[in-house]
Symmetry: C2
Subunit: 148 residues, 2 copies
Amino acid sequence: MFTPHPIGFISSPYNTKSDIPKGLGAKHDADGVLKILPEFEPGLTDIEGFSHLIVIWEFDRLNGFELLATPPSDNRPHGVFATRSPRRPNPLGLTTVELRRREGIELHVRGVDMLDGTPILDIKPYLSSIPSEKLRRGWLAEAEARQK
Amino acid sequence: MFTPHPIGFISSPYNTKSDIPKGLGAKHDADGVLKILPEFEPGLTDIEGFSHLIVIWEFDRLNGFELLATPPSDNRPHGVFATRSPRRPNPLGLTTVELRRREGIELHVRGVDMLDGTPILDIKPYLSSIPSEKLRRGWLAEAEARQK
Protein backbone atom coordinates (compact mmCIF):
# COMPACT_ATOMS: atom_id res chain seq x y z
CA MET A 1 0.00 0.00 0.00
CA PHE A 2 0.95 3.66 -0.13
CA THR A 3 3.04 5.46 2.48
CA PRO A 4 1.04 8.32 4.04
CA HIS A 5 2.63 11.71 4.42
CA PRO A 6 1.15 14.89 5.87
CA ILE A 7 -0.10 17.63 3.56
CA GLY A 8 -0.24 19.98 6.55
CA PHE A 9 -1.02 20.21 10.25
CA ILE A 10 -3.98 21.37 12.31
CA SER A 11 -3.83 24.31 14.64
CA SER A 12 -6.51 23.66 17.26
CA PRO A 13 -7.36 24.88 20.77
CA TYR A 14 -7.17 21.30 22.06
CA ASN A 15 -3.88 20.17 23.58
CA THR A 16 -4.98 17.01 25.34
CA LYS A 17 -7.70 14.49 24.62
CA SER A 18 -9.66 15.55 27.70
CA ASP A 19 -10.04 19.07 26.23
CA ILE A 20 -12.16 17.77 23.33
CA PRO A 21 -15.95 17.82 23.90
CA LYS A 22 -17.27 14.25 23.78
CA GLY A 23 -20.44 12.28 24.32
CA LEU A 24 -24.10 12.93 23.61
CA GLY A 25 -24.85 16.52 22.71
CA ALA A 26 -21.18 17.51 22.50
CA LYS A 27 -20.78 20.65 20.40
CA HIS A 28 -18.01 20.86 17.86
CA ASP A 29 -17.85 24.55 17.09
CA ALA A 30 -14.21 25.28 17.92
CA ASP A 31 -12.26 27.41 15.49
CA GLY A 32 -9.00 26.12 14.10
CA VAL A 33 -6.64 26.48 11.17
CA LEU A 34 -5.61 23.89 8.60
CA LYS A 35 -2.02 24.88 7.84
CA ILE A 36 -1.08 23.37 4.51
CA LEU A 37 2.56 22.83 3.55
CA PRO A 38 3.68 25.45 1.00
CA GLU A 39 4.52 22.81 -1.63
CA PHE A 40 0.81 21.86 -1.79
CA GLU A 41 -0.60 25.41 -2.07
CA PRO A 42 -1.69 25.04 -5.74
CA GLY A 43 -3.92 22.17 -4.60
CA LEU A 44 -6.05 24.72 -2.70
CA THR A 45 -7.05 26.62 -5.86
CA ASP A 46 -10.81 27.40 -5.83
CA ILE A 47 -11.36 25.78 -2.44
CA GLU A 48 -12.81 29.09 -1.18
CA GLY A 49 -16.00 28.34 -3.12
CA PHE A 50 -16.97 25.52 -0.76
CA SER A 51 -18.70 26.17 2.55
CA HIS A 52 -17.73 22.82 4.06
CA LEU A 53 -14.74 20.52 3.76
CA ILE A 54 -14.07 16.92 4.74
CA VAL A 55 -10.72 16.56 6.47
CA ILE A 56 -9.02 13.16 6.73
CA TRP A 57 -6.30 13.10 9.37
CA GLU A 58 -4.20 10.75 11.46
CA PHE A 59 -4.77 9.87 15.11
CA ASP A 60 -1.03 10.31 15.63
CA ARG A 61 -0.83 10.00 19.42
CA LEU A 62 -2.24 6.50 19.76
CA ASN A 63 -0.97 2.97 19.42
CA GLY A 64 -2.98 -0.13 18.68
CA PHE A 65 -6.70 -0.66 18.24
CA GLU A 66 -9.63 -2.48 19.78
CA LEU A 67 -12.39 -4.06 17.72
CA LEU A 68 -15.04 -3.44 20.39
CA ALA A 69 -15.18 0.05 21.84
CA THR A 70 -17.41 1.73 24.41
CA PRO A 71 -17.90 5.26 23.09
CA PRO A 72 -18.33 8.28 25.40
CA SER A 73 -21.94 8.59 24.17
CA ASP A 74 -22.99 5.15 25.45
CA ASN A 75 -22.23 2.68 28.22
CA ARG A 76 -22.28 -0.36 25.95
CA PRO A 77 -19.56 -1.63 23.62
CA HIS A 78 -20.01 -1.50 19.84
CA GLY A 79 -17.89 -2.62 16.90
CA VAL A 80 -15.18 -0.08 16.12
CA PHE A 81 -16.53 0.35 12.56
CA ALA A 82 -19.91 1.37 14.04
CA THR A 83 -18.22 4.08 16.13
CA ARG A 84 -15.83 7.01 15.74
CA SER A 85 -13.40 5.48 18.26
CA PRO A 86 -9.83 6.66 17.70
CA ARG A 87 -8.40 3.17 18.32
CA ARG A 88 -8.98 1.85 14.78
CA PRO A 89 -7.03 -0.66 12.65
CA ASN A 90 -5.99 2.27 10.43
CA PRO A 91 -5.83 5.36 12.67
CA LEU A 92 -7.78 7.62 10.30
CA GLY A 93 -9.94 10.45 11.59
CA LEU A 94 -12.59 12.27 9.58
CA THR A 95 -14.08 15.66 10.41
CA THR A 96 -16.44 17.90 8.47
CA VAL A 97 -15.53 21.55 9.02
CA GLU A 98 -16.99 24.84 7.88
CA LEU A 99 -14.56 26.91 5.82
CA ARG A 100 -14.65 30.49 7.11
CA ARG A 101 -11.86 31.96 5.00
CA ARG A 102 -8.60 31.15 3.30
CA GLU A 103 -5.38 33.11 3.79
CA GLY A 104 -2.81 31.61 1.43
CA ILE A 105 -1.87 28.23 2.86
CA GLU A 106 -4.08 28.72 5.92
CA LEU A 107 -7.66 27.49 5.91
CA HIS A 108 -9.56 29.05 8.81
CA VAL A 109 -12.30 26.62 9.77
CA ARG A 110 -14.98 26.01 12.39
CA GLY A 111 -15.77 22.65 13.89
CA VAL A 112 -12.39 21.13 14.68
CA ASP A 113 -12.23 18.17 17.06
CA MET A 114 -8.58 17.25 16.59
CA LEU A 115 -5.61 17.82 18.83
CA ASP A 116 -3.26 20.69 18.07
CA GLY A 117 -0.54 19.56 15.65
CA THR A 118 -2.53 16.68 14.15
CA PRO A 119 -1.24 15.69 10.69
CA ILE A 120 -3.67 16.23 7.80
CA LEU A 121 -3.74 13.56 5.07
CA ASP A 122 -6.39 14.86 2.71
CA ILE A 123 -9.06 17.51 2.20
CA LYS A 124 -12.10 16.98 0.01
CA PRO A 125 -14.99 19.30 -0.84
CA TYR A 126 -18.29 18.44 0.87
CA LEU A 127 -20.63 18.08 -2.08
CA SER A 128 -23.90 16.58 -0.90
CA SER A 129 -25.75 15.31 2.14
CA ILE A 130 -27.96 12.36 2.90
CA PRO A 131 -31.29 13.95 3.94
CA SER A 132 -31.69 13.53 7.70
CA GLU A 133 -35.07 11.82 7.27
CA LYS A 134 -33.30 9.02 5.39
CA LEU A 135 -30.71 8.39 8.10
CA ARG A 136 -30.88 5.60 10.64
CA ARG A 137 -28.37 6.05 13.44
CA GLY A 138 -28.46 2.71 15.26
CA TRP A 139 -27.05 2.54 18.79
CA LEU A 140 -26.47 6.29 18.87
CA ALA A 141 -30.17 7.07 18.40
CA GLU A 142 -30.97 4.49 21.08
CA ALA A 143 -28.47 6.02 23.52
CA GLU A 144 -29.95 9.46 22.87
CA ALA A 145 -33.48 8.15 23.47
CA ARG A 146 -32.43 6.54 26.77
CA GLN A 147 -30.95 9.83 27.98
CA LYS A 148 -34.19 11.75 27.47
CA MET B 1 3.26 7.96 10.22
CA PHE B 2 1.30 4.73 10.35
CA THR B 3 1.51 1.96 7.77
CA PRO B 4 -1.91 1.40 6.13
CA HIS B 5 -3.23 -2.11 5.76
CA PRO B 6 -6.53 -3.25 4.26
CA ILE B 7 -9.40 -4.24 6.54
CA GLY B 8 -11.13 -5.79 3.52
CA PHE B 9 -11.78 -5.43 -0.20
CA ILE B 10 -14.63 -4.11 -2.32
CA SER B 11 -16.60 -6.29 -4.67
CA SER B 12 -17.94 -3.92 -7.33
CA PRO B 13 -19.35 -4.19 -10.86
CA TYR B 14 -16.61 -1.84 -12.12
CA ASN B 15 -13.50 -3.44 -13.57
CA THR B 16 -11.97 -0.45 -15.33
CA LYS B 17 -12.05 3.27 -14.64
CA SER B 18 -14.12 3.90 -17.76
CA ASP B 19 -16.94 1.74 -16.32
CA ILE B 20 -17.54 4.19 -13.46
CA PRO B 21 -20.20 6.88 -14.08
CA LYS B 22 -18.56 10.32 -13.97
CA GLY B 23 -19.33 13.95 -14.55
CA LEU B 24 -22.35 16.14 -13.90
CA GLY B 25 -25.46 14.20 -13.04
CA ALA B 26 -23.63 10.87 -12.75
CA LYS B 27 -25.65 8.42 -10.69
CA HIS B 28 -23.91 6.28 -8.10
CA ASP B 29 -26.48 3.60 -7.36
CA ALA B 30 -24.46 0.49 -8.13
CA ASP B 31 -24.68 -2.39 -5.68
CA GLY B 32 -21.50 -3.82 -4.23
CA VAL B 33 -20.18 -5.74 -1.26
CA LEU B 34 -17.65 -4.66 1.34
CA LYS B 35 -15.88 -7.93 2.16
CA ILE B 36 -14.19 -7.52 5.52
CA LEU B 37 -11.30 -9.76 6.56
CA PRO B 38 -12.45 -12.37 9.11
CA GLU B 39 -10.01 -11.12 11.77
CA PHE B 40 -11.91 -7.80 11.86
CA GLU B 41 -15.44 -9.23 12.10
CA PRO B 42 -15.99 -8.18 15.75
CA GLY B 43 -15.45 -4.58 14.58
CA LEU B 44 -18.75 -4.83 12.63
CA THR B 45 -20.86 -5.42 15.77
CA ASP B 46 -24.04 -3.25 15.67
CA ILE B 47 -23.20 -1.76 12.27
CA GLU B 48 -26.57 -3.03 10.95
CA GLY B 49 -28.27 -0.20 12.85
CA PHE B 50 -26.87 2.44 10.50
CA SER B 51 -28.48 3.21 7.17
CA HIS B 52 -25.37 4.84 5.69
CA LEU B 53 -21.65 4.28 6.06
CA ILE B 54 -18.58 6.29 5.12
CA VAL B 55 -15.96 4.12 3.45
CA ILE B 56 -12.33 5.26 3.23
CA TRP B 57 -10.36 3.33 0.64
CA GLU B 58 -7.18 3.42 -1.39
CA PHE B 59 -6.86 4.42 -5.04
CA ASP B 60 -4.57 1.42 -5.50
CA ARG B 61 -4.15 1.46 -9.28
CA LEU B 62 -2.59 4.90 -9.62
CA ASN B 63 0.81 6.46 -9.24
CA GLY B 64 1.62 10.07 -8.50
CA PHE B 65 -0.60 13.11 -8.13
CA GLU B 66 -1.29 16.47 -9.70
CA LEU B 67 -2.11 19.57 -7.68
CA LEU B 68 -4.34 21.03 -10.40
CA ALA B 69 -6.92 18.69 -11.87
CA THR B 70 -9.64 19.10 -14.50
CA PRO B 71 -12.54 17.01 -13.22
CA PRO B 72 -14.97 15.22 -15.56
CA SER B 73 -17.72 17.60 -14.40
CA ASP B 74 -15.97 20.73 -15.66
CA ASN B 75 -13.61 21.89 -18.39
CA ARG B 76 -11.51 24.07 -16.11
CA PRO B 77 -8.74 23.01 -13.72
CA HIS B 78 -9.20 23.26 -9.95
CA GLY B 79 -6.99 22.53 -6.97
CA VAL B 80 -6.93 18.83 -6.16
CA PHE B 81 -8.25 19.52 -2.63
CA ALA B 82 -11.29 21.24 -4.18
CA THR B 83 -12.04 18.11 -6.25
CA ARG B 84 -12.48 14.37 -5.85
CA SER B 85 -9.66 13.68 -8.31
CA PRO B 86 -8.04 10.29 -7.70
CA ARG B 87 -4.53 11.68 -8.27
CA ARG B 88 -4.03 13.04 -4.73
CA PRO B 89 -0.91 13.40 -2.55
CA ASN B 90 -2.33 10.62 -0.34
CA PRO B 91 -4.41 8.34 -2.60
CA LEU B 92 -7.42 8.20 -0.28
CA GLY B 93 -10.94 7.77 -1.62
CA LEU B 94 -14.12 8.42 0.33
CA THR B 95 -17.57 7.14 -0.54
CA THR B 96 -20.87 7.30 1.33
CA VAL B 97 -22.84 4.10 0.77
CA GLU B 98 -26.25 2.87 1.86
CA LEU B 99 -26.07 -0.31 3.95
CA ARG B 100 -28.70 -2.73 2.65
CA ARG B 101 -27.86 -5.75 4.79
CA ARG B 102 -25.04 -7.53 6.55
CA GLU B 103 -24.20 -11.20 6.10
CA GLY B 104 -21.39 -11.98 8.50
CA ILE B 105 -18.27 -10.33 7.12
CA GLU B 106 -20.10 -9.09 4.02
CA LEU B 107 -21.71 -5.67 3.98
CA HIS B 108 -24.10 -5.40 1.03
CA VAL B 109 -24.24 -1.76 0.05
CA ARG B 110 -25.62 0.57 -2.61
CA GLY B 111 -23.72 3.46 -4.11
CA VAL B 112 -20.25 2.08 -4.82
CA ASP B 113 -17.99 4.01 -7.18
CA MET B 114 -14.79 2.03 -6.64
CA LEU B 115 -13.10 -0.52 -8.84
CA ASP B 116 -13.54 -4.20 -8.06
CA GLY B 117 -10.89 -5.35 -5.59
CA THR B 118 -10.21 -1.90 -4.10
CA PRO B 119 -8.66 -2.12 -0.60
CA ILE B 120 -10.80 -0.73 2.23
CA LEU B 121 -8.97 1.19 4.98
CA ASP B 122 -11.80 2.22 7.29
CA ILE B 123 -15.56 2.30 7.74
CA LYS B 124 -17.34 4.87 9.88
CA PRO B 125 -21.04 5.34 10.67
CA TYR B 126 -22.67 8.30 8.89
CA LEU B 127 -24.08 10.27 11.81
CA SER B 128 -25.26 13.65 10.57
CA SER B 129 -25.59 15.84 7.51
CA ILE B 130 -24.98 19.46 6.74
CA PRO B 131 -28.41 20.74 5.62
CA SER B 132 -28.33 21.31 1.87
CA GLU B 133 -29.46 24.92 2.25
CA LYS B 134 -26.25 25.62 4.18
CA LEU B 135 -23.96 24.16 1.52
CA ARG B 136 -22.01 26.20 -1.01
CA ARG B 137 -20.55 24.05 -3.76
CA GLY B 138 -18.16 26.42 -5.56
CA TRP B 139 -17.00 25.53 -9.04
CA LEU B 140 -19.30 22.50 -9.15
CA ALA B 141 -22.44 24.63 -8.76
CA GLU B 142 -21.07 27.00 -11.44
CA ALA B 143 -20.40 24.11 -13.84
CA GLU B 144 -23.93 22.80 -13.24
CA ALA B 145 -25.41 26.25 -13.89
CA ARG B 146 -23.47 26.60 -17.16
CA GLN B 147 -24.79 23.24 -18.36
CA LYS B 148 -28.43 24.23 -17.91
